[in-house]
């Protein structure tokens, strides 16, 4: 199956020298790459999880994909055709939608929900016939009562605002949905409702979704494939279940192990990762992760690893991906997986 949206060697740099500044300053200042060499694709109808710490460039990547941030090198293709000019991006945005992190903040504060829901149609000057009937059906689709149409965004709860965001994003039946931290700030029970809603609508309409998050325990249940980012680069991609079962990059392994387990008998004594994500202004030489990597070798400090395919559908940016696995087994660190429920009889209530 060919990709719906794909990026090839995408770079985004902080200072983009334009013609004038190059005339004024023939020795341009150093460029800092926020994104570097990102090669990623999403297939029609699949859900891709984009995971990383804050500052890893996940949000920038999403914005670049839709042309809100301009890329400085590489290409973006949509259904095999390159997206380059503003008109190309407009065409791409017509077929895609994005949900921002702050559910309330992405709704214009002085407009009522009803007006906000009709906006995608108003902007594209689409004939809608009965506007209130349209708003009612959109609200019903995301499980909100009709009375919500009369409210202002600040009168909504976080979960309700998120539902309004979903309804707006999917109004024009996009083929691609980019959701930036769709569950940030929501309670666990509401988080499940929002993700189930997106999953239901995805099954119904068959759009592809890219979900950006740092919440690993959530993303493993909703994504088909995972892409892990570190400091503006992809470090690992692969099918979600496989990545969780057999992480190839030490960063992925530490991320998975950093997630606290809701089981009081599995208190950890070992700290999976030390130190903090470096700044893009002082990108470490060699492999960017070597300073925090428990398995770093001399080669890692000197030579940047390539982003290579190690198995069908699995790419990793590490010199010693397989050996790490071996070391982990040697160190007998308890596997992050296999925390399947204790014997308590929790009810798995389904919405």
């Amino acid at each position: 199956m060919s990709a719906l949206l794909a990026t090839e060697d995408l770079d985004v740099s902080l200072l983009r020298p334009n013609f004038v500044s190059r005339l004024l300053n023939p020795w341009p200042r150093k460029l800092f790459n926020i994104l570097e060499g990102v090669t990623l694709f999403v297939l029609p109808g699949e859900t891709l999880g984009l995971v990383g710490e804050s500052g890893s460039g996940k949000t920038t990547l999403a914005r670049t994909m839709l042309g809100l941030t301009r890329h400085s090198a590489g290409r973006i293709t949509f259904e095999g055709r390159e997206v380059r000019t503003p008109a190309d991006f407009r065409a791409l945005r017509r077929q895609s939608a994005m949900m921002f992190q702050d559910p309330t903040g992405s709704l214009s504060p002085r407009l009522r929900v009803g007006t906000l829901l009709a906006e995608p149609f108003t902007i594209r000057r689409m004939a809608v016939g009965d506007r209130s009937a349209l708003v009612r059906s959109m609200l019903a689709q995301v499980g909100l009562p009709e009375s919500v149409a009369q409210l202002y965004p600040h009168e909504l709860s976080g979960g309700q605002a998120r539902r309004v965001g979903v309804a707006r994003a999917l109004a024009l039946r996009p083929r691609l949905l980019l959701a930036d931290e769709p569950t940030a700030g929501l309670d666990v029970s509401v988080q499940g409702e929002v993700l189930n809603l997106i999953a239901d609508l995805r099954r119904e309409h068959g759009f592809a979704a890219i979900i950006i998050t740092h919440n690993l325990s959530m993303i493993r249940h909703v994504s088909d494939r995972l892409a892990i980012m570190y400091l503006g680069r992809l470090v690992e991609t692969g099918p979600t279940a496989e990545v969780f079962k057999r992480p190839l990059h030490p960063y992925t392994a530490t991320l998975i192990r950093s997630e606290p387990v809701p089981d009081p008998r599995r208190k950890r004594t070992e700290l999976a990762i030390r130190g903090e994500i470096p700044s893009i202004f002082s990108r470490p030489a060699g492999c960017e992760f070597h300073a925090r990597c428990p398995f770093a070798q001399p080669r890692c400090r000197a030579e940047a690893p390539a982003y290579q395919a190690v198995a069908p559908g699995r790419n990793v940016r590490c010199h010693y991906p397989m050996e790490i696995e071996q070391q982990e087994r040697d160190a007998a660190i308890p596997a992050p997986i296999n925390r399947r429920g204790s014997s308590n009889e929790v009810e798995h209530r389904q919405a």
Partner: protein, 295 residues
């Protein structure tokens, strides 16, 4: 969804004029509101309220102290002071509201363009704002009046031209702060026309502080108009103005102090009224000062 119903109900409970009700709840603001309304009435119905025509000269009864016939007395040409003050309100408020409205709309428009438009245009506009701001108003007024002559229109032009940059800067700063907010990005992603983003999404969210600033600047403009008229740079002489009343009374301050006293009183009252109304507006419009419901 009980809280939805509750929210809907609360809004209905607040009535149709929540702002007016909030303003009236503070006694000082209420008094200010009454003063402002009285002055607005005086300005609107001056010809009907004034007992005499404001320019009717009666040299035989010049500088008469307050009496049953002339409540505030008469000036050095025998004109009725009360009538001149009532008509002066019309002059003062026309110029104040007129110039503030002109300056406010120009400032709003240019501020939005500077804040949301391309970088080079922003640079040009900020340069314009700064150069206009650096002009001393009195000197500028002198120059303009020399060219255009005195008059209400000239005054409005001068005051608006020197005061709109500060409004434009305020709007520009607000716009810059909001232009990268999520909801504007969301609109851009839907390919909303820039004009739509400006008018539907940015304008309503930046205009609040401007309205407060404008209402607080009205008394400043009233004072400026009075000052310019006092210096003889304001409205043309027979037209009554609070500033020229003061100037006329100033020459006879020893023999007839009531002219200066009654001439100054409306200036003081109007300034206080508009200032406190502006503060009341700020208190009830500024969301940061509102009592928030705890989580």
């Amino acid at each position: 969804m009980s809280f939805v119903a509750e929210a809907v109900q609360t809004r209905r409970g607040w009535g149709h004029f929540p702002l007016l009700r909030a303003l009236a709840s503070n006694p000082v603001t209420l008094a200010a509101l009454v003063i402002v309304i009285v002055f607005l009435m005086m300005a609107a119905f001056a010809p009907w309220l004034a007992p005499y025509p404001p320019t009717k000269i009666d040299v035989l009864h010049k500088l008469q102290p307050p009496s049953a016939e002339h409540w505030f007395g008469t000036d050095h040409l025998g004109r009725d002071l009360l009538s001149r003050i009532i008509h002066g309100a019309r002059t003062a408020l026309t110029i104040a509201i007129g110039s503030v409205a002109v300056a406010g709309s120009v400032g709003l428009l240019l501020g939005l363009i500077a804040g949301y438009g391309p970088r080079w245009l922003d640079g040009v506009l900020v340069l314009v704002f700064d150069s206009l701001n650096s002009l001393p108003m009195i000197m500028f007024a002198l120059a303009i009046i020399t060219v255009l002559g005195t008059g209400t229109g000239t005054l409005i032009f001068v005051i608006a031209a020197t005061s709109f940059p500060s409004y434009a800067r305020l709007i520009r700063a607000q716009t810059l702060a909001l232009k990268n907010s999520d909801y504007i990005l969301a609109e851009r992603l839907m390919d909303a026309h820039p004009l739509r983003i400006l008018l539907v999404h940015l304008l309503p969210n930046v205009v609040g502080p401007l309205i407060i600033l404008l209402s607080m600047d009205i008394p400043v403009v009233i004072m400026v108009e009075a000052g310019l008229s006092f210096l003889g740079l304001g409205v043309r002489p027979p037209t009554p103005s609070w500033g020229s009343i003061l100037y006329d009374g100033y020459t006879s301050i020893r023999s007839a102090p009531f002219v200066v006293i009654f001439g100054g009183l409306p200036l003081v009252l109007a300034t206080l009224g508009f200032t406190f109304l502006g503060e009341g507006l700020r208190d009830s419009l500024d969301p940061r000062l509102k009592l928030r419901r705890p989580a």
